[in-house]
């Protein structure tokens, strides 16, 4: 019994104001939370594998992804062709590997472009209020009221040519309203805080407050939006390619591979299934990474996680 108060005094002492908490570097803290959960770790590994595959596609792909080999059409997986061949005898594994390159390129560029434009629009709307807010938000309303697939088809259809940058533009454009809406809502809610008034009271300009005070607070949801957006855009690309207005043959993207395979769904389901699973894994991976980053960088969760 005599020891009990000692323990509590000791713990109070360790938590007291003067005793500094143990210090760990920001990166270590980030790593501890991010890699501490199995799901985030799995997501990260999936994303890492896909990204590395995309970067080193030329090195690791066993065959040329667009070279036809009509003698070996629609083959099941074998030692020569690990994932079999498609209707033109092209090696599925090589096409998946090169497809990762195209899909990720489209995913990253569309999402980053739309995030930058959307975030600026959202910040501007929240910042200026009044008619600027009305114009920007009504514009996003209009864009959001159209089903995004229709919007993307419209853009991809109008800008004929089928280059991947047109797909990027169509997909990115479709993601802007969501980003703007999210950023605006975030900024408006952060703006209500006392520390924004305090920032004004020390003489910061509006833009400085936007960028140094509001933006960092609105950042975690943006990161999550970004990473999840990549998954969404890759799916969108698949959708467009499936409809034949995405990335044009013979360039392999996971989307147009699903489309190419669907005619053989009854006889050779692997043709569609393999790229489909790849898309699914990528979306899952990015979603997990997004969640992990959110948890790891939010200072409000410090001490909780």
């Amino acid at each position: 019994m005599a020891e009990k108060p000692k323990v509590s005094i000791g713990s109070v002492d360790a938590m007291g104001a003067t005793a500094a908490p143990p210090r760990t570097s920001e990166w270590r803290r980030f790593a501890r939370i991010f890699f501490g959960r199995k799901l985030y770790l799995i997501g990260f590994i999936i994303v890492a594998i896909i990204v590395l595959t995309a970067i080193f596609a030329q090195v690791i792909a066993p065959y040329d992804p667009i070279e036809n080999d009509l003698d070996h059409r629609l083959q099941p997986p074998s030692a020569d062709h690990w994932l079999g061949t498609d209707q033109l005898g092209r090696d599925m594994l090589s096409r998946i590997i090169y497809g990762a390159q195209i899909s990720l390129l489209i995913g990253f560029s569309a999402v980053f472009a739309s995030a930058i434009i959307g975030a600026l629009m959202g910040l501007a709307a929240a910042h200026y209020g009044g008619w600027v807010f009305t114009v920007i938000m009504r514009l996003t309303d209009v864009l959001m009221s159209l089903p995004s697939i229709i919007l993307m088809m419209l853009i991809a259809g109008m800008l004929k040519g089928g280059g991947i940058w047109i797909v990027v533009f169509a997909l990115g454009f479709g993601s802007i309203p969501g980003m703007a809406r999210m950023m605006c809502g975030q900024a408006l809610s952060v703006k209500q805080n006392d520390y924004i008034m305090a920032a004004r009271a020390v003489g910061m300009s509006n833009w400085r407050i936007m960028l140094t005070q509001i933006f960092p607070n609105a950042f975690p949801p943006l990161i999550v939006g970004l990473t999840m957006g990549i998954g969404g855009v890759v799916m969108g690309e698949a959708g467009l390619s499936f409809l034949g207005i995405g990335v044009q043959a013979p360039t392999p993207s996971w989307g147009n591979m699903v489309m190419d395979g669907q005619r053989f769904l009854m006889t050779n389901p692997l043709l569609s299934l393999i790229p489909g699973v790849a898309i699914m894994l990528l979306v899952f991976g990015f979603n997990m990474v997004g969640d992990g980053i959110r948890d790891a960088i939010d200072p409000r969760l410090r001490g909780v996680l």
């Binding site: 500094a20 009271a201 003489g203 509006n206 001490g303």
Partner: protein
């Protein structure tokens, strides 16, 4: 010559229910190195008055409806609320300490970032110098282990410590005037005393003027040299602290002082006399004295004539009331 001279300041808010005259002709001045108390009940326009001086009232719904704020020979109200002139003053020459230490610091930025921001903004310091100065400031306001704690985030600080950080921010550029908007309302009594002593000590050392906005009469009694009492958007009594506490003249001030319990008073020695009723709704105010419905000293004139102008009742002592109250 007063350092800051506020004349006939009017700030109105346009609300769904009508026009709220939150500050309706507020005049006060602050001298160099002086501690001034601005007291009154909640909602009487104390905070609005100082936020108006800083031009921090959001418009709409707020409106600067008139008046002058003379500082260094210029009328601050002529400047755009967020214009460069106003921004250059805020945080450097005129600073502010807010009521809520828990929410007045940005949760995602380190203490260093929040302190150096002001220094880099107003004093053009580089990063290293600003950090050095920030640590020095934290030491001045009594944050232990300042060199380490500067890298912490606000949530790692207690309320009192955060308020110390706010004070450090307020004094960082050697301001001429500090407005403290109920700086100690959100912390406990012992911390309150520490913070007030700290602030008093700092402003004396830096020869800065301090305006304490509060509803705590004990605080102003102890620290303020001059006092302004506000009611319903107006100053109703002003004067040196001693004469207001010794000989309050306005029925409202008398009521306030009568309703404060004193430590050491024996049971039954003096009855606490409350002020009955509630502060008026500031929408659609009658032209007569706003304290009239609660006043125990009213005379016939009060209900007929408009709200009286301030009149002198002693050395530097003014009240806005028709009634002469003799003695204590």
């Amino acid at each position: 010559m007063a350092l800051l001279d506020v004349q006939d300041l009017k700030t109105y808010f346009h609300t769904e229910y009508g026009l709220v005259k939150a500050a309706d002709g507020v005049s006060f001045h602050i001298n160099q190195g002086e501690i001034v108390g601005l007291v009154g009940e909640s909602g009487c326009g104390k905070s609005v008055s100082i936020l108006s001086v800083m031009q921090l009232i959001t418009s709409p719904p707020g409106e600067k409806a008139g008046g002058k704020v003379i500082f260094e020979g210029k009328d601050l109200l002529k400047y755009q609320p967020n214009g460069p002139e106003m921004r250059a003053l805020r945080g450097s020459k005129i600073t502010m300490i807010f009521q809520e230490p828990m929410t007045s610091l940005n949760p995602v930025l380190t203490i260093e970032r929040q302190l150096t921001e002001t220094l880099e903004l107003h004093l053009d310091m580089d990063k290293a110098a600003a950090r050095e100065r920030a640590i020095e400031l934290l030491k001045m306001v009594g944050v232990p282990d300042a060199a380490k704690r500067i890298d912490d985030y606000p949530h790692m600080f207690s309320g009192g410590m955060r308020q110390r950080v706010m004070i450090a921010m307020a004094i960082s550029c050697n301001p001429m005037i500090i407005f403290a908007d109920e700086p100690t309302t959100a912390v406990d009594v012992t911390t309150q005393a520490q913070l007030l002593e700290l602030m008093k000590d700092l402003v004396t050392r830096l020869d800065t003027s301090l305006v304490i906005v509060t509803h705590n009469l004990g605080v102003v009694a102890r620290y303020a040299q001059r006092i302004y009492v506000m009611y319903a958007g107006r100053i109703i009594e002003s004067g040196p602290a001693e004469s207001i506490f010794a000989q309050p003249k306005h029925p409202y001030t008398i009521g306030l002082l009568n309703s404060v319990p004193k430590l050491g008073e024996r049971h039954g020695e003096r009855k606490l006399i409350p002020i009955y009723g509630l502060p008026p709704n500031l929408i659609n105010m009658p032209p007569t004295c706003a304290f009239l419905p609660r006043c125990t000293a009213k005379i016939g004139r009060c209900a007929k004539e408009p709200w009286p102008e301030l009149r002198s009742v002693g050395k530097d002592h003014y009240i806005s009331c028709y009634v002469d109250i003799k003695g204590k």
